[in-house]
Symmetry: C2
Subunit: 259 residues, 2 copies
DNA sequence: ACCTGAACACCGTTCAAGT
DNA sequence: ACCTGAACACCGTTCAAGT
C-alpha cells in the first residue's frame, strides 16, 4: 500500500481509476508542472491541454486557477525567479561590500538561467509588470534590495539607478547568449522526429525564384576564410569563465562611477 | 476576463482593387509583409491565415514559398538583418580603425532593433543556424567582416573571437532592454481591443485562495521605500545616451586586450 | 504554374451541467 | 467546490482538385 508519487504520469490515460492523485489541484502545482514541462520539452509544446493531461485533469480545469495561457507564462517567469527574493544566501550581509552582493546575485540569476534554459527567453522578453522594471531582475523585492545595497554602500541615487540598468543588460546579454548556445547543443527537443527519407535521387532542383537558404555551414564556409579558420575557436567557449571576467569588469566600471 | 475574438483586420484591399493585386506572389513579398504585419500588430497575431488574407490569397498558398511558420519566422529574422550585410555605410573603410567600424555596426543593429521592436525578440532568441553564430550578429557575412576588421587591425585570433562574443552580448542586453521598455510604453498592441464592458462597478472581489498578483505598482510600492523614492528616476531613461556610454566603455575594454 | 476547398488534427477559452 | 462535455472560433498544414 504505497502511494507511488513517481512522475511517470506522462501519457497517463487514467480513465479507469479514480485519479485522486494529489488532491484537488492548485495554482502552485500547475505552475510548477508547467515549468518542468517546458524544461523537458519546449515552450512551443506547452499547451493547456497537454498540461492538463499531465496533471490528470482536463484543460478546462486549469482556468479555475490560471487566468489563461498568458497568465500562466507570467506566473512561470515569476516562479523561476522567486528563489532570488527569498534565498538568504543572496541577502546583503552587513559584512560584505556591494561587489560581493552583486557577485552573488549575478550567479544566482545565472544558476536559474542554466537550470531552466528553455524558460529563460520568457524571463528575458516578457513585458515586465512595471515600466521601470527591467528583465531579468523583475521583482519589486529584488530591485529594492539591489538599490538599497548600493545606496547604503555609497552610491548616489543616480549611480544606483544606472548600475541597476547596467547590471540588467549585462545579465540579459550574457545569459541569453549562454542559454541560446546551450539550446543549440541540446537541440533535438523541438522537432519530434524526421523519418529517414530515401533521398539521393538527385532530383532536387533548387526552386526557381525561391532561393531557400539551406546553409550547410560547411559548404558555405568556403567563401569566408576567417570563419573557416576560426570555426573551432568560435565553437568552443568557456561561458563560465567569460561570465566571470565580464562581471568583474562591470564591477570595476561601476566602482569608477563612485568617485 | 474578456473575449479575445474578432480582431477586425478586415480585408485589406490595398487600393480598392479586387483581391489579385500584384501578380503571382513570391517569397520576398510574403516575408516583407510578415515583418510589417508584426511591426503593426504583434508576433502573436501573426498567423498564416491572416498573413494570407493580407496578401490577398488563402493561407495555403503561402506554403508554396515558405516552409511553414517556423521557416517564415527565420526568414523574417534574416530579412530584418540583411541590411547590415549590404549597407556600404557599414563597411570597414581603409581609413578608419576598428573602433569606428564597431561604432557604426553597433548603431546599425540598434537602428534595426528600434525600427522593428516587435521583431527583435525573435532576433534575440531564435536558435542561430550555426552553433557558433551568436545573436544578434547572425549572418556569416557579418561575422566574417567583424573578424576580418579586428584581425586586420591588430587583434589576435583569440582576442577577435572574444571581442565578437563581448560585442554580441553587449548588443543583445542593451537592445533587448531598450525594445522591452519601448514595448511597455507602446503597449496596447498585444490585446486587440477590450470592448467597453458596462461593468465599472468596482465589484472586483479578490479571488479567495488564489493570490493573484495584480501589482498596482502604486499600492505595493508602500513597502519599498527606495523604489518609491526612485520611481521617477527609474522610469525615465535616455537609452540613447546610455547606449553610447556603454559602447564607449566596451570599446575601451577591448582596447586593453590588445596590448 | 499557381492557387484553393475541403479536411485533419490540433489550439485556447467559455459555460452550462454534472458530481 | 471542483471538474468536465460540448461547443466555438480559431490555428497550422496537407493534398487533391481546380484554373
Amino acid at each position: 500500500m504505497i502511494a507511488i508519487d513517481d512522475t511517470r504520469l506522462s501519457v497517463v490515460r487514467s480513465h479507469g481509476g479514480p485519479s485522486t492523485a494529489r488532491g484537488p489541484l492548485d495554482r502552485q502545482r500547475i505552475i510548477g508542472e508547467a515549468v518542468t514541462f517546458v524544461d523537458e520539452h519546449s515552450l512551443q509544446e506547452l499547451t493547456m491541454r497537454r498540461l492538463g493531461q499531465r496533471l490528470g485533469v482536463e484543460a478546462m480545469s486549469l482556468y479555475r486557477y490560471v487566468d489563461g495561457r498568458e497568465d500562466l507564462l507570467d506566473a512561470m517567469v515569476q516562479q523561476t525567479l522567486v528563489g532570488l527574493d527569498v534565498d538568504p544566501h543572496l541577502r546583503l550581509l552587513p559584512t560584505d561590500g556591494w561587489q560581493a552582493y552583486l557577485q552573488r546575485l549575478a550567479h544566482g540569476v545565472r544558476d536559474i538561467a542554466l537550470a531552466h534554459p528553455k524558460v529563460f527567453p520568457l524571463v528575458a522578453t516578457r513585458h515586465p509588470d512595471a515600466p521601470w522594471l527591467r528583465p531579468p531582475l523583475r521583482s519589486l523585492t529584488l530591485v529594492e534590495a539591489f538599490l538599497e545595497a548600493l545606496i547604503e554602500r555609497g552610491f548616489s541615487d543616480d549611480a544606483a539607478v544606472a548600475a541597476y540598468r547596467a547590471f540588467s543588460s549585462f545579465l540579459l546579454g550574457h545569459l541569453l547568449l549562454e542559454v541560446s548556445a546551450l539550446g543549440a547543443a541540446t537541440a533535438p527537443a523541438e522537432e519530434p522526429l524526421a523519418e529517414p527519407t530515401s533521398e539521393d535521387d538527385g532530383n532536387d532542383v533548387e526552386e526557381a525564384g525561391t532561393e531557400r537558404g539551406r546553409n550547410g555551414s560547411d559548404e558555405r564556409l568556403a567563401e569566408f576564410p576567417q570563419l573557416r579558420r576560426l570555426e573551432e575557436r568560435l565553437s568552443q567557449d568557456d561561458a563560465q569563465a567569460e561570465f566571470e571576467m565580464s562581471l568583474e569588469s562591470l564591477l570595476q566600471r561601476l566602482e569608477l562611477t563612485l568617485s
